[in-house]
């Protein structure tokens, strides 16, 4: 699957907000359609630069697979001026979109192997396109396990999707929360505690991990303790991105630029940097 080459990667295309869905108290999902032309193709794990006019740009991963619809779908948390402006957009309003950029999840490389998805908080958003593609071609993969962690039951993202995935007999889905009362009937504990309980062959699994960096670090440690080689563990890294094409250096992470070499990177390429402060 290729990525369409933009004529000028700095010029945004205009997209219209088709729908807004409130996911959490501070997060919405925007469904976008191009005002003219066609949406470019993209891979799970890639991101767009979304431009709230007059406010600024921010990098947001696609949260629905390219095969699920004709537009872009992005889940945005109101975490600052730009993301806040995006989260307040209403159906019919417009915004600028540059992209798609970056590397994707190794979905094709995972064929014939077990797949382990580990998501923390809003980290499920960039992973959902990968999950959708794996499930769309379920027969091509070994055992599929989806582990999701979040703060509390009221902050579980994409509950509808999780329920649908749980109903399938060919997917193992486990959700855990950090804090819960006795009315919660699911798991309580950090998401890493689910890893040793999960059915996968450490020698033949591809693990895709996304969430807060500290969560990814400990998930990677847990996976390695379980025998998964670093080359089979992929993390989606987040840094402040500006140009999105590896020119400006804002998102430099050691020798890599997260916008161009990432955001999805194999652990063996970045393991030494994860514990270095200020990188």
């Amino acid at each position: 699957m290729g990525t369409e080459v933009l004529k000028d990667p700095f010029v945004p295309e205009i997209y219209r907000v088709e729908s807004v869905r409130r996911e959490l108290a501070d997060a919405v999902t925007l469904e976008l359609a191009p005002v003219s032309g066609k949406r470019p193709d993209f891979r799970p794990g890639q991101f767009n630069m979304l431009y709230a006019f007059g406010v600024g740009e921010v990098a947001i991963s696609m949260s629905v697979s390219a095969h699920e619809g004709p537009g872009f779908v992005h889940t945005v948390r109101n975490a600052g001026a730009v993301s806040g402006a995006l989260a307040r957009l209403e159906p019919g309003s417009t915004l600028g979109v540059r992209g798609p950029f970056g590397t994707g999840w190794p979905v094709a490389e995972a064929e014939g192997r077990d797949v382990l998805i580990v998501a923390g908080g809003l980290g499920l958003a960039p992973l959902r396109p990968a999950i959708q593609e794996v499930l769309a071609h379920r027969e091509r993969f070994g055992r599929v396990t989806i582990l999701v962690g979040c703060r509390s039951p009221s902050e579980i993202l994409y509950q509808h999707d999780l329920e649908q995935w749980k109903q399938r007999l060919d997917v193992n889905v486990e959700v855990t929360v950090d804090h819960a009362g006795t009315d919660w009937h699911g798991n309580v504990g950090f998401v890493t505690t689910l890893i040793p309980r999960s059915p996968f062959d450490p020698a033949n699994v591809v693990a895709m991990v996304c969430g807060p960096e500290v969560m990814m670090r400990f998930a990677a440690t847990g996976l390695q303790k379980g025998g998964v080689p670093a080359s089979s563990i992929y993390l989606s890294m987040e840094r402040n991105m500006k140009c999105a094409i590896g020119l400006c250096g804002h998102c430099q992470f050691g020798p890599a630029f997260i916008c161009k070499d990432g955001p999805v990177l194999p652990l063996d390429r970045i393991a030494g940097l994860l514990t270095v402060q200020e990188v």
Binding site: D26, R77, A79, G120, G121, L122, G149, C150, R151, E155, T176, D178, H179, A180, G181, T182, W184, H185, G186, N187, V188, G189, F190, T192, T193, R197, G211, P212, V214, M215, F218
Partner: protein
């Protein structure tokens, strides 16, 4: 019908446990069944038993005055419920509630402590299995209280 010795020997928790020790501790063990909502352990009670879960899920809960109980963690198949039997004054520090029907091996802690005192090699083998459990839980709790999913 399987003997307790055989059942214990099949548990991952007792992997590589010397066969002679499995035989020794089997006398302290018996099978238990709990209905959903039943308590395996109550906070403050003598820690005279711990459980190895064979099936089902257990919530470790903390109660506080004028507040609904809070679930600190949940434990499932192959996991240990109850570590206070190792530490004086041997009193349970959490409630452990069956969230669904639970099958578990219950170990009589008084019996086991006596055997560990009498045979320190056995005590060391037990400690080698319990210490990682406690360290993993401490570590997981630290990550929980970090509240990593919150906005910075």
């Amino acid at each position: 019908m399987e003997t307790m010795e055989q059942i214990l020997g099949q548990q991952a928790f007792f992997a590589d446990f010397p066969a002679a020790f499995v035989k020794l501790i089997a006398g302290c063990a018996r099978n238990h069944h709990f209905k959903a909502g039943e308590y395996l352990i109550r906070e403050g009670d003598p820690a005279d038993r711990f459980y190895l879960v064979r099936q089902g899920r257990v919530a470790l809960e903390i109660t506080a005055p004028a507040r609904a109980p809070i679930i600190a963690t949940t434990l499932g198949e192959g996991e240990i419920v109850g570590v206070s039997w190792l530490i004086p004054p041997y009193r349970a520090e959490f409630d452990a509630r069956a969230m669904e029907p639970v099958r578990a091996i219950g170990m009589n802690a008084t019996c086991l402590r006596g055997k560990c005192e009498a045979d320190h090699h056995l005590g060391y083998e037990m400690m080698k299995r319990f210490l990682p459990v406690m360290v993993k839980r401490l570590h997981a709790t630290r990550l929980q209280i970090l509240d990593v999913y919150g906005q910075r």
